[in-house]
């Protein structure tokens, strides 16, 4: 029955020391179906592989078992060996008699007996193996990048430069992301917008890039190489083809609301561009605040000033959301981050907030991104450091690091990675503008690993005289001192062991970084994993840092974990590179060890559809030649299935099986253990 060749490796002394390889080989040769049983010093070596190949040719072997190390080590090696000798690569099984036998059992008799059983199991399994061909999936040579912050911009430009069409989706009215709102960047203190703006313009103009701002991903169908992504283009009420971006509308708009781009520190109008360098430099009407749109709901037509102002007839109050489907081969997720809002009410029940800092209650307690705007030349104060409550130039500013980060008790467990650096930057920027000011920093540790980073922090301390206190602030109170409102920070300096109370004019909190809102629902649409905080999971932390477990979906930037701009850009380029590699293939090959449904017997109950982590299974109709419905069935999409086998276990009628790990194969392995 079948002709199986078994090749047992000595691995030098690694296996042979504790396993009597010759005895094993002899015992295995007696198993039914074993046509030859050989042993050799190093099976993975060139002569070892030649031995296998020659036996295949000599005996016409129908299956091969290599008893040596872990399949994680050499399964691919031996698959190639047999393939070159004319046997299907999936007709090889390995028996792991090194890692799981000779290295862990020192009693030679026991280890030898175990090795024989392990090989017997592999022989039993390989007898049930089927010849398989890799699955070929066609590829759509177009990519989608979700999020147009610095990561998305970088990835899109790299892909476009590689000749791939890119759909760049951004939910805000402009590209640019968080970086567009930053003042200067560490450790060089060069202007953030000066670096970014040219890239933003390039994205807007690149012939290979289709820019979809004010748009969100609604639905994702399909699979690697063949995604169908439906994008919701939100109603902008401004026809950006007609609009020239002249500004007469937003200059005349009577309705003023806080500008989210300035984190509420400045105002904008209801029809607005978020910031002057926006790309596209076309306004959008904020429907919630527009007097006209609000009145239309009540059947009236108030205001309409912008309509009158517009010389190109670009305003359309009857604009509606539009759903557009795009076919893309790869998706890069670059949705970035948000700051942890530390007020007491938290969405995540594990987080308790930091009510004791009075954030949201005391106007002069702000977060780091707000400080960026205050200190930015294009910010609401024109770059003049003024505190929000009364516009006074703060003389004493307290910076509190690790607000929320590294707090197992009630905050977030991880380090947000960039706060040490930007706080040092903040102290410098502050001192550069307020020469007689005092910058106090409360910190837990200073983490400044990186090129020129530690030097940068030392500069803040040594040259710009920032006062670093190693300790936490337990509470902030608003007090009046000599008629001036102060934020009294009750801190401690653990180095001196003394309490340290500072009356600050302003407090800047280095709030922890969280993935931006909505990322988990996006991740679910894409079948990408995420951690307890919503950071997307890469496929392997070291070896596959930008891939995800959803084939064809890549991640970069802060949506994957806290990181600074250089790292973000590097990762974005990496993601684009990986996507380019994928899209450069004429078709994708995928492992054929996937689930398969016996469609004749499937009752289409849908349990597998619910269980599949990859949405790879769908309910389909089976029709006869005339098109009449015969029955319903589940069907596995070979382009999506990753071969986990969860569907096999949940199938009530065992109508699904996992090729390569079928019940038949597992049963054969088990039965081989019967004495």
């Amino acid at each position: 029955m079948a002709k199986i060749g078994v090749f047992t490796c000595w691995c030098g002394e690694n296996i042979a020391r504790n396993v009597d390889v010759e005895a094993v080989s002899e015992a295995i040769s007696k198993l039914p179906g074993v046509a030859c049983s050989m042993d050799y010093k190093y099976m993975c070596s060139e002569p070892g592989q030649s031995l296998i190949a020659s036996k295949i040719k000599e005996l016409g072997l129908t299956g091969v078992v290599v008893a040596s190390c872990s399949p994680h080590m050499h399964l691919n090696t031996f698959r190639k060996t047999v393939e070159l000798a004319g046997v299907n690569p999936y007709l090889v099984e390995m028996a792991n008699i090194r890692e799981q036998c000779s290295w862990v059992h020192t009693d030679k008799e026991v280890a030898t007996a175990k090795a024989i059983e392990l090989i017997g199991m592999a022989v039993a399994k390989v007898r049930r193996n089927a010849a398989l061909e890799p699955i070929k999936v066609p590829v759509t040579k177009r990519a989608m990048v979700i999020g147009a912050g610095v990561a998305g911009i970088q990835a899109a430009l790299d892909l476009a430069a590689g000749g791939v069409e890119v759909i760049l989706v951004e939910r805000e009215p402009s590209v640019g992301g968080k970086m567009a709102g930053l003042s200067e960047t560490f450790p060089t203190l060069d202007c953030s917008q000066c670096i970014l703006t040219p890239r933003m313009v390039e994205v807007g103009q690149h012939p290979n890039i289709e820019l979809l701002t004010y748009s969100e991903v609604e639905k994702v169908d399909g699979y690697v190489g063949n995604f169908k992504v439906t994008v919701r283009k939100k109603a902008r009420y401004v026809d950006i083809a007609k609009c020239t971006g002249c500004g007469s509308c937003w200059n005349k708009c009577p309705k003023k609301v806080p500008n989210a781009f300035d984190y509420g520190l400045g105002n904008r109008t209801a029809i607005y561009i978020p910031f002057p360098q926006a790309v596209p430099a076309r306004p959008v009407i904020d429907a919630d605040n527009c007097l006209r749109l609000q009145s239309m709901k009540k059947g009236k037509e108030l205001c309409g000033i912008c309509l009158k102002q517009c010389g190109t007839d670009a305003i359309n109050f009857h604009d509606k959301d539009e759903l557009v489907e795009y076919e893309v081969g790869a998706v890069i997720v670059a949705t970035g981050y948000k700051l942890y809002q530390i007020t007491k009410e938290q969405e995540n029940p594990k987080l308790q907030g930091y009510g004791e800092y009075g954030y949201g209650k005391y106007k002069d307690v702000i977060d780091s991104l707000q400080f960026e705007r205050i200190i930015s030349a294009s910010g609401p104060t024109g770059g003049e450091p003024k505190r929000p409550s009364d516009g006074m130039t703060p003389k004493t500013v307290v910076f509190i690091q690790c607000t929320g980060s590294r707090d197992n008790a009630k905050g977030i467990t991880y380090c947000s990675k960039i706060c040490c650096m930007y706080t040092a930057k903040h102290t410098m920027l502050f001192k550069h503008k307020v020469h007689d000011g005092e910058a106090h920093v409360f910190y837990m540790d200073i983490r400044s690993g990186g090129k020129m980073y530690d030097e940068f922090v030392r500069r803040a301390i040594e040259q710009d005289d920032a006062q670093y206190h190693r300790g936490r602030v337990s509470k902030i109170e608003e007090v009046m001192v000599d008629g001036v409102k102060k934020c009294r920070c009750y801190g401690a300096d653990t180095l001196t062991g003394k309490p340290c109370v500072v009356d600050a004019d302003m407090v800047v909190l280095a709030n922890a970084m969280l993935p931006s809102s909505g990322v988990t629902s996006l991740a679910q649409k894409l079948s990408v994993g995420y951690d307890g905080y919503g950071f997307l999971s890469e496929s392997h932390p070291k070896l596959r840092p930008v891939e995800t477990n959803a084939a064809g979906v890549f991640v970069c930037g802060a949506c994957q974990g806290p990181k600074d701009i250089p790292e973000t850009v590097a990762q974005a380029t990496a993601a684009a590179g990986k996507a380019l590699i994928m899209l450069s293939q004429p078709y994708l090959t995928r492992e054929p060890e996937i689930a398969t449904v016996d469609e004749r017997l499937c009752a289409a109950c849908g349990a597998c559809v619910k269980a599949c982590p990859y949405n790879a299974i769908s309910i389909e109709e089976i029709c006869d030649r005339k098109g009449n419905l015969v029955k319903m069935t589940s069907r596995v999409n070979p382009g999506l299935c990753m071969g986990c086998g969860t569907c096999v276990a949940v199938c009530p009628s065992k109508s699904v099986d996992l090729i390569g790990f079928t019940d038949d194969q597992v049963y054969a392995q088990l039965e081989s253990l019967l004495d």
Partner: protein, 298 residues
């Protein structure tokens, strides 16, 4: 109430809202109650309702012979109604073609081995706290009476009927339990009557009939019988509604309802899951929660 039921069915047939009504009638030896399939309003007098209406008629809904009728009206007891919900949730019945006629049930008397009616309710009825059918198209009978029975049973549900048997079983040592089921399963003849009378056993081919590989030995030996009965119990995890059709069909008198109850109980205890209470619910197996119990995992 029987008349109320007949009238309801007559009306449905007359208005052609249904092509067939599956109900209970005196069809067996000596007028024993079994399923009748009434297609004409003139025949509704065949339909009866009493405490001998044992069968779970939902078992017929997935049979091709029955589906061929078209629009079906089915008489269901409250426990059977839950079976219809599970079938709908598993896409086995088309609710558009189904009129679910729920009857308020005050308990069903079990059959003696010779097929006659015992003067005793089924054990499942003693713990039943749902005498009024839920998720049905229409309800026949006195809902208030049903609710009164619910309230009455709620008081002793924990210590009566199958729950009492279950408690007894749990009080045994693990060896005693093994011996208990060993004796029970030794009687199994592998006729698969349990499967055939179960509404949830609609698989196109049962695992027991699949032979690549043979997952369950076909012989009525202890090995095969053990595998069959426990794999079937697991097959019903999160699906069994506790109607007891399997136990009443078993010619060997194996306490299959008790076996299934242990799994349903676990589903309820660990996951708060009760099968067939709601349309549109995802299956218990095939979904998960982040905080599923795991203290037994090393």
């Amino acid at each position: 109430m029987e008349n109320e039921l007949r009238n309801a069915i007559r009306e449905l047939l007359e208005k052609q809202e249904i092509d067939v009504a599956i109900g209970y009638g005196r069809v067996g030896v000596d007028g024993a109650v079994g399923a009748v399939f009434v297609t004409s309003p003139d025949d509704v007098e065949q339909i009866v309702w009493n405490d001998e209406c044992r069968q779970n008629l939902a078992v017929h809904l997935t049979r091709p012979e029955v589906k061929a009728f078209g629009k079906i009206g089915i008489v269901v007891k409250p426990c059977d109604a839950r079976a219809v919900v599970v079938l709908a949730n598993e896409a086995q019945v088309d609710l558009d073609l189904l009129t679910i006629i729920g009857v308020v049930c005050s308990g069903i008397k079990r059959a003696k081995p010779d097929g006659t009616t015992a003067d005793e309710y089924y054990a499942k009825c003693e713990t039943c706290v749902q005498h009024t059918p839920q998720n049905v198209t229409l309800v026949v009978g006195d809902v208030a009476e049903g609710e009164a029975l619910d309230a009455k049973n709620e008081q002793n549900a924990a210590t009566a009927g199958n729950n009492a048997k279950l408690a007894k079983l749990r009080a045994m040592t693990v060896e005693e339990r093994f011996a208990y089921w060993r004796e029970q399963f030794s009687r199994c003849v592998r006729c698969y009557a349990c499967r055939q009378s179960c509404p949830m056993c609609y698989c196109n081919r049962c695992v027991a009939d699949k032979n690549r590989p043979t997952r369950i030995d076909t012989s009525a030996s202890l090995k095969g019988n053990f595998a069959w009965n426990i794999l079937r119990a697991f097959h019903l995890a999160g699906r069994c509604v506790g109607c007891g059709a399997c136990a009443s069909a078993c010619p060997a008198g194996i306490e299959l309802d008790l076996l299934n109850l242990t799994v349903s109980d676990a589903a309820k205890e660990h996951f708060g899951f009760v099968a067939g209470t709601e349309f549109g619910v995802d299956p218990l197996i095939g979904t998960y929660a982040d905080d599923d119990k795991e203290e037994f995992i090393r």
